[in-house]
C-alpha cells in the first residue's frame, strides 16, 4: 500500500532518527496538523467545544501519566490529585493578579513540587505497594483540597476561573481557546516523541525494565525516578490548569477525585503503555464511547418503545465504561496503540506478509 518502506533510504543518522522516518507517515502527520489547525472553521462549535477540546486536554494529561507509568514504569494512582494541584495553584495565582501564562507555569511547578512527594514513596517500595501508597496519597490530597479553606475556598466551594489571556490579551473566542489547547497538546506530544530518542527517555526505559540493572550500567535509578515524577507532574499540573481555564471555567474538589485518577489510568492502559498515538486513542475511547453508546441505547429504547427508567439510563455509560476496560484488556492487554501498531506493521509489508519482522 502507501505504507511502504520501499524507496526510503536513510543515508545519514539525522534522517534515520527523524520522528517520522516513513514519508507517508510524515505527510499524514502534516495533513492531520493542518486539519487540527483548521478545525474551528470545519467543525460545528458544539462538537469543537464539547468533544474535541476535552479530548485534547485529557490526551495531554494521559501523555503525562504515560511518561511515568509507561516509560519510567512507576505506578501513579493519584494523578488526578496532581492535576488538581496545578489547577488550584494557577487559579489562585490568577486571582491574585499573576499574568495567565505565568500562573499556568506556576501551577505546573506547584504540581511538580508536590509530585515529588509521591516520588518518595517510589524510592521505598515498588509495584503493587507503590500503587497502593499513591492511591492513599490521592485520598489525602482530596481531603486536604476539600478541607483546607485556603485551597478550596471552603467546603464544597467553587472557584471561578478567569478566561485565559496571553500577553495581557484576554482570549474569549472559542477558536482562540481551542488553539491554546491545541498548542499545549502538540507541545506535549512533541516532547514525548522526542523522549524516545533522547538519553532521558532511554534512562527511563532502563529504570522501567529493571531498576537495579539500570543502576549497574550507571543510570541512577533514584534520580531518574524523581525526574520522572517531577516531569510528569509538571505536565499533569499544566494540563489540569488548562482543563480548568479552557473547559470547566471553574474549579471544585470533585473534578479531581479518585474516580478521575482511575479514569486517567484507564485511558492510559486502554491506549497502551508507552504508546503516544495510543494515548490519543485511549482518551477518545474512554471519553467518547460511553456517551455515544448511551445515545444509541436511548434511541433504540425509544424506537422499540422499551420502558427504560431514567435511573437505568443514567448508569448505562458506566456499564459501557467498565465493560470497555475489561474487553480491551481481554482482547489486547497492550491496548489500542498495540492494535494500531499491528495494523501498521501488516500494511507496511502488505501483501508480502512473510517479510514482517
Amino acid at each position: 500500500m502507501f505504507y511502504r518502506q520501499a524507496g526510503v533510504f536513510h543515508t545519514d543518522y539525522a534522517s534515520d532518527s527523524s520522528l517520522f522516518p516513513i514519508r507517508f507517515e510524515r505527510r499524514v502527520m502534516l495533513i492531520l496538523l493542518l486539519l487540527a489547525l483548521a478545525a474551528p472553521y470545519l467543525l460545528d462549535s458544539l462538537v469543537l467545544v464539547s468533544y474535541v477540546q476535552p479530548w485534547l486536554i485529557w490526551t495531554s494529561a494521559v501523555l503525562g501519566l504515560n511518561l511515568i507509568l509507561g516509560w519510567a514504569g512507576q505506578f501513579h494512582f493519584g494523578y488526578a490529585a496532581i492535576m488538581g494541584i496545578g489547577a488550584y495553584a494557577s487559579v489562585h495565582a490568577t486571582r491574585h493578579g499573576v499574568p495567565w501564562e505565568l500562573a499556568v507555569l506556576l501551577g505546573g511547578m506547584a504540581a511538580s513540587v508536590i509530585g515529588m512527594v509521591f516520588a518518595f514513596a517510589a524510592l521505598r517500595v515498588k509495584g503493587l505497594y507503590l500503587a497502593l501508597s499513591t492511591l492513599a496519597m490521592q485520598f489525602v490530597m482530596d481531603w486536604v483540597i476539600s478541607h483546607v479553606p485556603a485551597v478550596s475556598g471552603g467546603v464544597s466551594a467553587t472557584l471561578q476561573a478567569p478566561p485565559p489571556s496571553l500577553l495581557g490579551l484576554v482570549i474569549t473566542s472559542e477558536a482562540g481557546v481551542y488553539y491554546i489547547v491545541l498548542a499545549w497538546v502538540v507541545l506535549v506530544t512533541l516532547f514525548m516523541l522526542n523522549l524516545r530518542r533522547s538519553a532521558l527517555g532511554r534512562a527511563f526505559i532502563a529504570v522501567r525494565e529493571k531498576d537495579f540493572a539500570a543502576a549497574v550500567i550507571g543510570v541512577q535509578s533514584f534520580y531518574y525516578k524523581l525526574v520522572a515524577f517531577a516531569v510528569s507532574a509538571f505536565i499533569g499540573g499544566i494540563s489540569g490548569a488548562i482543563l480548568v481555564f479552557c473547559f470547566y471555567r471553574a474549579v471544585t474538589a470533585e473534578q479531581f477525585s479518585i474516580e478521575v485518577s482511575i479514569q486517567l489510568l484507564a485511558m492510559t492502559i486502554i491506549g497502551g503503555l508507552g504508546s503516544i498515538i495510543g494515548s490519543f486513542f485511549g482518551a477518545a475511547f474512554i471519553l467518547l464511547l460511553p456517551g455515544q453508546i448511551n445515545n444509541l441505547v436511548t434511541s433504540l429504547a425509544q424506537s422499540m418503545s422499551l420502558p427504560l427508567g431514567p435511573e437505568t439510563l443514567a448508569h448505562i455509560p458506566h456499564v459501557v465504561y467498565g465493560a470497555a476496560i475489561i474487553l480491551v484488556l481481554l482482547v489486547e492487554p497492550m491496548g489500542l496503540g498495540k492494535i494500531y501498531r499491528n495494523i501498521r506493521d501488516y500494511l507496511m509489508v502488505w501483501p508480502y506478509g512473510y517479510l514482517r519482522k
Binding site: 515498588k126 485520598f139 478541607h147 458506566h318 467498565g322 476496560i325
Partner: protein, 295 residues
C-alpha cells in the same frame, strides 16, 4: 466521663474493625492464591448485599434466610469472574491486572445500579436496634454480630486450610509453578479462592448493609478492607483479623477526637494515612512474608 467515651469508641471501633476484616479476608484469600490484589472487593461486597435483597424480595423471605442463597450465587459469580476476566491475564504485568480489577469494580457497580437503582435501601437482618449495655458502655448490637461473624469466618478458614483442598490452596499460595508440576490444578485453586472470597463478601455486604444502608457507599469499604489487608500482611488471614481490630480502634478514636476539631471527614484521612505509613515503614505488614522487593 471522657475516658468512658473513648473506651466506648474503642470497643465499638474494635467490633467495626472486625467487620472490615471480613472485607480484608476476601482480598487476602485472592492475593494468597494468585498474587492478584483485588481492587473489586468493594464492588463484590456491594453486589452481594444487593443480591441478598433481591433474593429476599423475589422469594418473599427474610434477608437472613436469603443469605445462603445469595452466598451460593456469589460463589458462582466469583468463579465466573476468575474464569472470564483474570485467568487470561495471568503472566501479564501487574498494572494490567490492577486495571482489570478496577474495570470489574466499575462494571459491577454500574450493572448493580442499572438493575436495582441507586436509592438507598434498608436490609434488616433481625438484629434489634437497642444498644447493648455492658456496665457504662453502650455497644451497637449489629457490630457485635458482625465481629462474631468475622471471627467465625476466621476459624472456618483456619480449619479449611487443614483440609485436603485447603492444603492444595496453601501449596498454590506457596509456589504455584511447583504446585503445577506436581499435578495440582492451579486454575481450580485460584477459582476456588475467588469463590470463597465472594462468599466472604456476601457476609460483609449483608452485615454492613444492615449497619449502613444498601447503596453505592458499600463499595467504599474497599479502601478500609485494603488498608486492613496491607496492615495485616497481604497473605495472612490472621493478620487481617488483628489489623482490623487495630484499624477499627484507631479510626474510631481518632475520628472521635479529630472530627470536632477539623470539621468531619477524618475517617478516610486516618485510614489513608495508616495505609501510607504501613507501606513506608513495614510494607509486608504485621504478619506478611518478608519477601517484598525493597529498593
Amino acid at each position: 466521663m471522657d475516658l468512658i467515651y473513648y473506651l466506648e469508641l474503642a470497643v465499638n471501633g474494635a467490633m467495626g474493625g472486625l467487620m472490615y476484616s471480613l472485607v480484608a479476608m476476601g482480598i487476602v484469600l485472592i492475593y494468597k492464591s494468585s498474587s492478584v490484589p483485588n481492587l473489586a472487593q468493594g464492588a463484590l461486597t456491594m453486589v452481594a448485599a444487593y443480591m441478598v435483597l433481591a433474593f429476599a424480595d423475589a422469594l418473599g423471605i427474610a434477608p437472613l434466610v436469603a443469605m445462603p442463597l445469595a452466598a451460593a450465587t456469589m460463589f458462582l459469580c466469583g468463579m465466573l469472574i476468575e474464569k472470564v476476566a483474570l485467568r487470561r491475564l495471568a503472566g501479564w504485568p501487574i498494572v494490567m491486572v490492577l486495571m482489570m480489577t478496577l474495570g470489574l469494580d466499575i462494571f459491577m457497580r454500574a450493572v448493580t445500579l442499572t438493575f436495582w437503582g441507586g436509592s438507598a435501601r434498608t436490609l434488616d437482618l433481625g438484629i434489634p436496634d437497642t444498644p447493648l449495655f455492658i456496665g457504662p458502655l453502650l455497644i451497637n448490637r449489629a457490630y457485635v454480630v458482625g465481629a462474631v461473624v468475622a471471627l467465625v469466618f476466621f476459624v472456618i478458614f483456619r480449619l479449611f486450610f487443614r483440609t485436603r483442598r485447603g492444603i492444595l490452596l496453601r501449596a498454590i499460595a506457596d509456589d504455584y509453578v511447583a504446585s503445577w508440576s506436581v499435578g495440582i490444578s492451579v486454575e481450580h485453586g485460584v477459582a476456588l479462592s475467588w469463590a470463597l472470597s465472594a462468599v466472604t463478601a456476601t457476609a460483609a455486604g449483608a452485615l454492613w448493609g444492615s449497619v449502613q444502608t444498601v447503596d453505592q457507599g458499600l463499595s467504599l469499604l474497599l479502601l478500609k478492607g485494603l488498608t486492613v489487608a496491607v496492615l495485616g500482611g497481604l497473605d495472612s488471614i490472621g493478620g487481617a483479623i488483628l489489623a482490623g481490630l487495630l484499624l477499627g480502634i484507631l479510626e474510631n478514636i481518632m475520628a472521635g477526637y479529630l472530627d470536632p476539631l477539623l470539621g468531619g471527614g477524618t475517617r478516610e484521612l486516618v485510614v489513608a494515612l495508616v495505609l501510607i505509613l504501613t507501606i513506608m515503614i513495614r510494607p509486608f505488614g504485621l504478619f506478611g512474608k518478608h519477601d517484598i522487593e525493597r529498593i
